[in-house]
C-alpha cells in the first residue's frame, strides 16, 4: 500500500513537472508575457505570437523556454531593461527587442543574464538597445545567431553589443554586431569561444578583450571599427582565421596586443588597417601563416615585446612592414614572404640568399618623431631608406629575416 | 622731336653716359660719332627704352618716355648686330614683325625688294651671314615707315652694292622730313648723308654742331678730316 501511495505521488510529481506550452497573443488566454510568466512553472515553454509588447521589464525567474513566433517585438520604451534572466537553463529565442533604456549609472541591456548558467540566447534581433546582450557571472551560456544594431554616435552614450563579465565557458557564435561602443566585450571571461561573428562599424573596438585567459576566437570578421580589435592583459588566447579589415584611423589597429603572453595568432588576414598588429609587452606569441596586405604598418612591435615568433607570413603591399621603437630585438623572423625583398636566390631553394630587413630607416624616425610623417613619400626619405639599405646604421642590426621566401605562401 | 635732358647711366663701375643732353628735330640727319665705348649705343638704347637711365629724362615729341611704349611705333631701329630667333626663317621674322607692329600703315618694302630678300625667305636665321642679317635688320627698320630712324652702324658688314642701296634709302627718307640718327665708324660715307654731328667721348657729349658749322670751325670739307682735327685739338 505504501508503495502504491508512492507511485501516485510520483505520478503526480511527474505530471506537475512535465512541461506545458503556454501561448501569449491577442487571441490567447494571456495577452502579456509577464502574466504568462506568473502562471508558468519550470520547464514550461512560452510561445509568443507576433505583436508589439510593452511589458516594461520582463524578469524570468523560472527555468522556461521563451520563444517568439515571427519575431514579436518587445519594446523597452527607452526606459527599461527588456529581459532580465534570473534563472538557470533559460532559452530566449526569436524576438525583436528594441528601445531599451539608457543610463550612465546602470548597465541596462536588451537581455541580461544575472549569475546563471546554461542560458541560451538565440536568433534574436536587437535594435537600438543600450547594451545588447549582457552576461554577468554567466556560466556555459550560448549566445548564437543574434543580430545587434545600435545607432549611437558618441562613445560615452553607447553600450557594448555582447558584453560578458566574469563569465566562463561562453559560446558566442554567428552574431552580427554593429553600431555599439565595443562589438564584443570580454572582461574576466575564461574558457570561452567566439566563433563566426561579424562585428563592424562599432564606435570603439570590434572586439575588446581584457583579463580573459584561455579563450579562442576563430573565423570572425572585424571591419571598419573605430579602433579595430584590442586584446589586453590576458594569456593563452588563440586567434585563428579571423579577418581584420579596414580599421583606418589615428589609433586604429587590426589587433592591439597589450601584455599578452603564450598566445597564438594564426591564419588571420589583415587588410587595409593603419597597423595590422600592434604589440606592446607581448611575450611568447606565435604569429604564423597570416596575410598582411595593404596596411600602413603590417606590424608594430615595441621593444617591450620578447620571444615573438613570426614565421611563414605573407607581407604584401604594406607601406611599412615592421615598425619598432628600440634597437633591442628579442623576436624571431623566419621564412616570411616580403614583397619588398630585393634579394636573389642563386641555389634555387626558394629562399632568398641575403637576409631581409623589414624595418626602414624612415619608419624608425617616424616612430621617434611622429611629426616626421609630414615628409612621408618625399624624395629625402626615400633617399635615406636607400642609403640605409646599403649602410645600415639606425635600424636594429638583428631585426631581420634570414630566410625570406622568394614567392608568397598560398594562404 | 627728341629731347635728351641730362641723362646718366652707370654699368657697374663704368660710367656709360654722363650728363648727356641733346636735341634733335625732324628732317635732321644726325651722325653720332665717337670712339669705341664712348656711349653711343647706350644712348641709342636709352632712346629706345631698352636701357633705363639712372637719372635724367628723354622726351619724344614733348612726352617723357619713361614707362611708355607706344612712341616706339614712330621709331625704326637697326641694331649694330641684328639678333633674331635662330629657328625662324627670314620670311617668318618679317611676317612676325608685321604682325606685331601692324598699325594701318602701308608697308615700305622697297629695301626687301632691293636686297631681293624674298628669294631667301625660307632660310633660317641661324644659317645667315652677318651681311644678310644686316639686310634683314635694315629692311625691318624701314618697313613701317617710321618718323624716326635709328641706325646703329648701318653699313658694317654690308657689301658695297647693298651699302649704296641703303645710303640711297636713307637720303630718300631724310628728304621726306624724317629724323635720322646714325652711328658709324666709317666717317667718309657719312659726308653726303648727314646735317648734324654729335661727338661723344667717355660717356660725355663733346659737341653738337651742324655739319656746316663744323666746316666753318675746322676749315675742312671732309667730315673725317674735320673730326680728326677736332680730336687733335682736344688732345692738345
Amino acid at each position: 500500500m505504501k508503495s502504491v501511495v508512492h507511485v501516485i505521488i510520483l505520478t503526480f510529481l511527474f505530471f506537475s513537472t512535465n512541461a506545458t506550452t503556454i501561448r501569449v497573443g491577442n487571441h490567447q488566454l494571456f495577452h502579456t508575457i509577464n502574466s504568462a510568466l506568473l502562471a508558468a512553472s519550470d520547464r514550461d515553454t512560452i510561445l509568443v505570437e507576433k505583436n508589439v509588447y510593452f511589458e516594461k521589464n520582463i524578469e524570468i525567474t523560472k527555468q522556461i523556454i521563451l520563444k517568439g513566433i515571427d519575431y514579436p517585438v518587445l519594446d523597452g520604451e527607452h526606459t527599461y531593461e527588456i529581459i532580465s534572466i534570473k534563472a538557470d537553463n533559460v532559452v530566449v529565442d526569436g524576438f525583436k527587442l528594441q528601445h531599451s533604456g539608457v543610463s550612465s549609472l546602470v548597465d541596462i541591456a536588451g537581455i541580461k543574464i544575472y549569475n546563471k548558467h546554461n542560458t541560451q540566447i538565440i536568433n534574436n534581433i536587437l535594435d537600438d538597445t543600450f547594451f545588447g546582450i549582457y552576461s554577468q557571472y554567466g556560466i556555459n551560456c550560448i549566445i548564437r545567431n543574434n543580430s545587434l544594431n545600435a545607432h549611437r554616435t558618441e562613445e560615452q552614450q553607447s553600450g557594448n553589443g555582447i558584453h560578458c563579465w566574469k563569465s566562463d565557458s561562453m559560446q558566442i557564435i554567428g552574431n552580427t554586431i554593429s553600431g555599439h561602443r565595443d562589438g564584443i566585450y570580454f572582461e574576466f571571461v575564461t574558457h570561452s569561444i567566439i566563433w563566426r561573428n561579424y562585428s563592424f562599424k562599432n564606435l570603439r573596438y570590434g572586439l575588446h578583450f581584457m583579463f580573459s585567459n584561455d579563450d579562442a576566437y576563430v573565423t570572425n570578421r572585424f571591419e571598419n571599427n573605430g579602433s579595430g580589435v584590442s586584446v589586453m592583459y590576458s594569456h593563452g588566447v588563440k586567434m585563428f582565421n579571423n579577418y581584420f579589415k579596414e580599421n583606418w584611423g589615428d589609433a586604429a589597429y587590426g589587433i592591439l596586443l597589450k601584455e599578452i603572453s603564450d598566445s597564438y595568432i594564426q591564419g588571420n588576414h589583415f587588410e587595409k588597417n593603419t597597423s595590422g598588429i600592434y604589440m606592446e609587452g607581448a611575450v611568447r606569441i606565435d604569429v604564423t601563416r597570416n596575410t598582411f596586405k595593404n596596411n600602413g604598418w603590417a606590424l608594430k612591435i615595441q621593444a617591450s615585446c620578447m620571444d615573438i615568433d613570426l614565421h611563414e607570413n605573407n607581407f604584401i603591399g604594406n607601406t611599412f612592414d615592421v615598425g619598432t621603437n628600440g634597437s633591442l630585438v628579442l623576436n624571431k623572423f623566419d621564412k616570411n614572404f616580403w614583397d619588398k625583398y630585393e634579394g636573389y636566390d642563386l641555389n634555387k631553394d626558394k629562399i632568398g640568399d641575403v637576409p631581409y630587413r623589414p624595418v626602414s630607416m624612415y619608419s624608425m624616425i617616424v616612430e621617434k618623431y611622429p611629426s616626421a610623417m609630414m615628409l612621408f613619400r618625399s624624395f629625402i626619405t626615400s633617399l635615406m631608406d636607400k642609403t640605409e639599405k646599403v649602410i645600415p646604421s639606425l635600424t636594429p642590426e638583428n631585426l631581420k629575416d634570414n630566410s625570406p621566401l622568394m614567392k608568397p605562401l598560398p594562404l | 622731336m627728341i629731347t635728351i635732358d641730362n641723362i646718366s647711366k652707370q654699368f657697374g663701375k663704368l660710367k656709360a653716359l654722363d650728363g648727356v643732353s641733346v636735341m634733335c628735330d625732324a628732317a635732321q640727319s644726325v651722325a653720332l660719332i665717337g670712339p669705341n665705348g664712348s656711349g653711343k649705343t647706350t644712348l641709342i638704347k636709352c632712346i629706345l627704352g631698352m636701357v633705363v637711365p639712372d637719372s635724367g629724362n628723354i622726351l619724344f615729341n614733348e612726352k617723357n618716355i619713361t614707362n611708355e611704349w607706344k612712341y616706339r611705333e614712330q621709331i625704326g631701329y637697326m641694331p649694330q648686330i641684328g639678333r633674331y630667333p635662330d629657328n625662324m626663317t627670314i620670311g617668318q621674322v618679317i611676317d612676325m614683325m608685321k604682325d606685331i607692329r601692324y598699325n594701318n600703315i602701308a608697308f615700305d618694302e622697297t629695301l626687301i625688294e632691293a636686297f631681293s630678300l624674298k628669294n631667301m625667305y625660307h632660310k633660317r636665321m641661324r644659317t645667315l651671314s652677318g651681311g644678310t642679317r644686316q639686310k634683314v635688320s635694315a629692311s625691318l627698320a624701314f618697313l613701317f615707315n617710321p618718323q624716326v630712324l635709328i641706325l646703329d652702324e648701318p653699313t658694317a658688314g654690308l657689301d658695297p652694292v647693298a651699302s649704296e642701296i641703303l645710303k640711297e634709302k636713307i637720303i630718300d627718307e631724310k628728304k621726306k622730313g624724317k629724323l635720322v640718327l646714325i652711328t658709324s665708324h666709317i666717317l667718309s660715307e657719312l659726308d653726303d648723308l648727314i646735317t648734324e654731328v654729335i661727338y661723344m667721348q667717355e660717356g660725355k657729349l663733346m659737341f653738337h654742331k651742324s655739319l656746316h658749322q663744323l666746316h666753318v670751325d675746322t676749315g675742312e670739307i671732309k667730315l673725317s678730316k674735320a673730326i680728326a682735327k677736332v680730336m687733335l685739338n682736344k688732345v692738345a
Binding site: 612621408f376 613619400r377 618625399s378 624624395f379 | 629706345l48 636701357v51 639678333r83 630667333p85 629657328n87
Partner: protein, 255 residues
C-alpha cells in the same frame, strides 16, 4: 600680347625638347600603369614623377629657353610693345606648352587607368607645380646674364625645394622634438610648393591615418574645404609672387 604668346608657343613647340618631354612622360606613365597590376601602386610611382621630375624639367627648360631667347626678347623690347606684356607672354607661352606636355604625358594615362578624385588632385597639383617652377625659373634668370650660372642657380633651387628644404625640416624636427611642432609644420609646408602638393595628394590617397596625430592635424587643416581653399591660394601665390617680382625686375632690366 596674344600675338607674342602665339609666337612663343610656336617657337617652343618647334623645339623638339618639349616633344621629347611629352613622350618621356607618356612612356613612364604607361609603363608604370601597365607594369603594376595595382593602380594605387602606379599612382604612387607617378607621385614621385610629379614631385621630382616635373619641377626639375620645368625649371631647367624654362631657364634655358629664356636664356636662348635673349635675342628674341631684345628684338621685342625695341618694338612698340609693353615690357610687361612681353614678359607675361613668355610666361604664358612657356606655361601653356609645358602644361600641354604634362596633360598629354601624365594626365591622359591617369584618366585612362586610374580616374578618381586622387587622380584629379594629382593632375591639378602637377599642373600647378609645372607653372610654379616656370615662374621661379623666370625670376632666377633675371639675376644673372650668364647662362651657365643661371642654369646652375635653377638646379640649386630645384635641389633646395625637393631635397634640402625637407632636410632642414627634418633637422628642425630633431631639434625641437620635445615641443608640439605639428601646427608649425602645417605653416612650414606652405613654404615649399612641392611639400604642400605632396601633402594634398597624400591626404586624398587616404593615407592620412598613417600619419597618426600629425596626420590628424594635417587632415583637420587641409582636409576641410577652408584648408583646401587656403592651400590652393598658397599654391597660386607661389605662381603670382615670382611672376610679379620678375615682371617688376624685367621692367627695369637693361638689355
Amino acid at each position: 600680347m596674344k600675338k607674342i604668346i602665339k609666337y612663343v608657343i610656336t617657337d617652343i613647340l618647334r623645339n623638339k625638347i618639349v616633344l621629347a618631354y611629352t613622350i618621356f612622360l607618356l612612356a613612364i606613365s604607361f609603363s608604370v600603369f601597365s607594369l603594376e597590376d595595382n593602380p594605387t601602386k602606379g599612382m604612387l610611382s607617378l607621385l614621385n614623377i610629379i614631385l621630382i621630375v616635373i619641377p626639375l624639367i620645368s625649371i631647367i627648360f624654362s631657364a634655358i629657353y629664356i636664356y636662348n631667347s635673349a635675342e628674341f626678347i631684345e628684338l621685342l623690347v625695341s618694338q612698340p610693345l609693353k615690357r610687361k606684356s612681353i614678359w607675361l607672354s613668355l610666361f604664358v607661352g612657356l606655361s601653356s606648352s609645358l602644361s600641354i606636355a604634362f596633360l598629354v604625358g601624365t594626365a591622359l594615362p591617369v584618366i585612362i587607368y586610374a580616374f578618381s578624385i586622387t587622380g584629379l588632385v594629382m593632375i591639378v597639383i602637377g599642373l600647378l607645380l609645372t607653372i610654379i617652377f616656370i615662374a621661379i625659373a623666370m625670376l632666377a634668370t633675371l639675376f644673372t646674364r650668364d647662362k651657365a650660372k643661371g642654369i646652375g642657380i635653377t638646379i640649386l633651387l630645384w635641389l633646395y625645394f625637393s631635397l634640402l628644404f625637407d632636410g632642414l625640416v627634418l633637422f628642425l624636427l630633431f631639434q625641437f622634438a620635445d615641443y608640439p611642432v605639428e601646427k608649425i609644420m602645417v605653416v612650414i609646408s606652405a613654404f615649399n610648393p612641392i611639400d604642400l602638393g605632396r601633402i594634398l595628394i597624400l591626404l586624398k590617397m587616404d593615407i592620412s591615418a598613417l600619419m597618426g596625430y600629425t596626420g590628424a592635424i594635417f587632415k583637420n587643416f587641409f582636409g576641410t574645404n577652408l584648408g583646401l581653399i587656403i592651400s590652393f591660394i598658397i599654391m597660386l601665390l607661389w605662381i603670382a609672387i615670382p611672376v610679379w617680382l620678375s615682371v617688376t625686375k624685367f621692367h627695369k632690366k637693361d638689355l
